[in-house]
Symmetry: C2
Subunit: 350 residues, 2 copies
C-alpha cells in the first residue's frame, strides 16, 4: 500500500479511501491511484482490514450433515444471498454430533465470523439463547418454542399431520411412523403431528408402530424390517425423511412385498432423488432454497442491527403426491390436491 501511495503520489490514507470510500476522493486522484494499484498489481491484505474493522465478512453455517441432499439446497440459498452482500460462507459440518456443534460456537466467540446460521440445534435452549443474545444468529429448519432466536422453518407438526391425514383419507388405519432421533426437535414435532392426526381420527396407536431411525438409508431399511415383522404390520408408513423412506422401500421389496400395493410410504423433504426413485416418492416438500435465502437475509438484518419485521418465519410446505402413497395408481401422474393446487409429479422436474 505504501508503494501504491508513493507511485500515485498520495498518502496511504487516500489509497485506503479509494478502495473503501471512493466517493471521498476526487476523480483525478482516484484515477491515479487505481492506475498505480494496477501497475503494481497490488492486492489489499484482507486480514489486516478485517482486523482493523473488526469485521470478517464471513458467515458460519452449521450443518448436521453435509452429505445430505436436503441441506445442500438450503446452503445454496444462503450462499447466494451472502455473496450478493459481500459475505463469504464457512461451512461447519457437525456430522450429527452435539459436541462438534458446541465447538463451532467458539468461532463466533472468537469473532472469526460476523454471524451464524444454524441448520441444527441439538444444544439445549439455554446455551443457544446465550450465544444468540451475544451474536447474530439465525436458526433454520429447527424450531424451538419460547426461543428468542430468529427462526426460519416450516410447521413440521402440521405438515406431518397432513401426510397422515392423506393416508387416512385413502382408507389406511394401520399407519406406522419411522421417526428421526428423539433428541432432535424436528423428530418430536413430526411425531406429534402423527399422533395428533391419529387421535383426531380416533385411530388406535400402537407404540410398536413408532420406530426411531437415525436419518440414514440403512436405518430406514432396518426400522421398516422391524415393522414388517410385526404380527399385524402396518399398511402405511410415514417416514421422517426421504433417505430413510428409500431405505424403507428397499426393505419392503426385499421382503417380497411391493410399494405402494402392500405398504404405502410417504417421506419428507422432497430431495432431488424423490421424483427419480422407483417408485416415485410421495413426500412433503420443503422450500429449501427459500429457507436458506430467508435465513441469510434475516442474519444480514441482525448484523446491520436493522429492526426485524418478525422473529419467526414459517414457510409453506406442500404434500407432493407421487407413487409411493398409492394415491395415483388409478390415475394420471399429475393430480391436484383437494384445494385444487397443482401437484406436479412430472418426472425429471426438480
Amino acid at each position: 500500500m505504501q508503494d501504491v501511495a508513493k507511485r500515485a503520489n498520495v498518502s496511504t490514507a487516500t489509497v485506503s479511501r479509494v478502495l473503501s470510500n471512493p466517493d471521498k476522493v476526487s476523480e483525478s486522484t482516484k484515477k491515479r491511484v487505481l492506475e498505480a494499484i494496477d501497475e503494481l498489481n497490488y492486492q489489499p491484505h484482507v486480514v489486516a482490514r478485517q482486523f482493523r474493522t473488526m469485521q470478517t465478512k464471513i458467515i458460519l453455517v452449521v450443518v448436521p450433515d453435509i452429505t445430505s441432499a436436503f441441506f445442500s439446497q438450503i446452503l445454496r440459498g444462503i450462499e447466494h444471498v451472502a455473496i450478493e452482500h459481500g459475505y463469504q460462507v464457512i461451512l461447519a459440518d457437525t456430522e450429527n454430533k452435539t459436541e462438534r456443534e458446541r465447538e463451532y460456537m467458539n468461532i463466533l466467540h472468537q469473532k472469526q465470523a460476523d454471524g451464524m446460521v444454524l441448520l441444527t440445534a441439538r444444544m439445549n435452549k439455554h446455551e443457544l439463547e446465550e450465544i444468540s443474545d451475544a451474536f447474530p444468529v439465525v436458526l433454520a429448519c429447527e424450531y424451538m418454542d419460547e426461543l428468542n432466536t430468529p427462526t426460519v422453518s416450516i410447521d413440521n407438526i402440521s405438515s406431518s399431520r397432513k401426510a397422515i391425514q392423506h393416508f387416512i383419507d385413502m382408507g389406511h388405519r394401520k399407519i406406522a411412523h419411522i421417526t428421526g432421533p428423539m433428541d432432535v426437535i424436528l423428530s418430536r414435532d413430526r411425531l406429534r403431528g402423527y399422533q395428533q392426526a391419529m387421535y383426531s381420527n380416533d385411530l388406535p396407536m400402537d407404540s410398536l408402530y413408532i420406530q426411531e431411525g437415525n436419518f440414514t438409508i440403512e436405518s430406514g431399511y432396518n426400522q421398516m424390517k422391524k415393522l414388517l415383522s410385526l404380527d399385524e404390520p402396518p399398511t402405511a408408513v410415514f417416514v421422517f425423511n426421504d433417505e430413510m423412506a428409500i431405505g424403507a422401500i428397499n426393505a419392503v421389496r426385499d421382503q417380497g412385498l411391493s410399494v405402494p400395493e402392500d405398504i404405502a410410504v410417504i417421506g419428507f423433504d422432497n430431495i432431488n432423488m424423490a421424483p427419480i426413485f422407483t417408485p416415485k416418492l410421495t413426500t412433503i416438500d420443503q422450500p429449501k432454497y427459500e429457507i436458506g435465502q430467508k435465513a441469510m437475509n434475516l442474519l444480514l438484518s441482525l448484523i446491520n442491527k436493522e429492526p426485524l419485521e418478525k422473529r419467526k418465519f414459517v414457510l409453506k410446505d406442500e404434500l407432493v403426491i407421487r407413487e409411493t402413497c398409492g394415491y395415483t395408481l388409478s390415475r394420471n401422474n399429475d393430480s391436484r390436491d383437494k384445494d385444487g393446487n397443482a401437484i406436479s409429479t412430472k418426472i425429471l422436474e426438480h
Copy 2:
C-alpha cells in the same frame, strides 16, 4: 488480554506465551494466567493473531457442485484431516461456472486462506500454473498432464477402459457413451478410455453413440432418449457419472424397455445411491474419502514447505458390479472380479 495480564500480574507477552508457547512459561505463572483467563472468560482475538502471524489456518476448497453426492464424501476426507491439524475449511461452490472459479482465486491472492484444494479445474493450464506457483494448491479428481501442481486422482482413462471391456467381455458390441461436458478434462479422459477399449477390440465406433451430457439426472435422461431413438440403438451404455446413469435408466424405463435386459448400464463414482437404486447400479468406485484425505495431507506438506515424496498420486478405483450391467443376473449378488478381489454388492453397504 491486558485485563488478563493485569489480573495474573504478568505482562501481555506472558499471557500470549501461555496460549501459544506454553513450554516457555513456568508452571506457577501458567496456572495463574489460566485462572485469570478463566475468570475473565477471555477469548483470544483470532483475527488479530491471524494478522500478526500472517496465517489464517483456513483452507479454501473449490467444488464444482456442492449438491453432488460425489463431492461431499471427498469434502469430508479433506475436512477431517484439516481439523486434525488445526485448519478450518471454507467451501467455495462454483456451480460449474469457470468465472466463479476464477473469482475464488482472489481469496488466495488476498491471503485469506493458507492454501487451496481444487476439485475442479476448468481454468486453463496457464492460469492454474500461475496460482499454484505462488500459493499452496492441490488439485484433486481432475488430472492435467504436464502440470506441476500436486494432484490426487484416479486414472480415468484406464477405469473407463475397464468398464467398456466389461461390456465387451459380456458380448456387447453396440456400446454407447454418455459423456460429461467436453470442456472438462475428466470427460475427455473417460471418452478416451472408451475409444481405446473400442479400438483395441476392433469394434466400430459410431459418433452417434457418443452423447454429451452435463452431469445432471435430466441430461442423462435426455441423452439416453436420443440413443434409444437411433435406428440401431446400443445394447450397453457407459455413463460419465451415476447421476446421469440414473437419469438414463429412467429414460429406458419410460420407453417401455428395461435395464439390464434391453440396455446394460455402467455409471461412475459409486455414489451412496448406487447400491440403493433399483436396479442397483454397476459403477466405477472412486476412493472418495481417501482422495480428500490425501489431497489435504499434500496441501499441509506444501504449506509447511516439506518436500513431497511425489507430486502425482493416482489412487485405485474399482469396478463394482451390481445389477445394471446384467452380469449378475444369473448369479448371486456377490461376485468376484477376475483378479479374485471381492466385489461386494450387498444392499445397504455404503
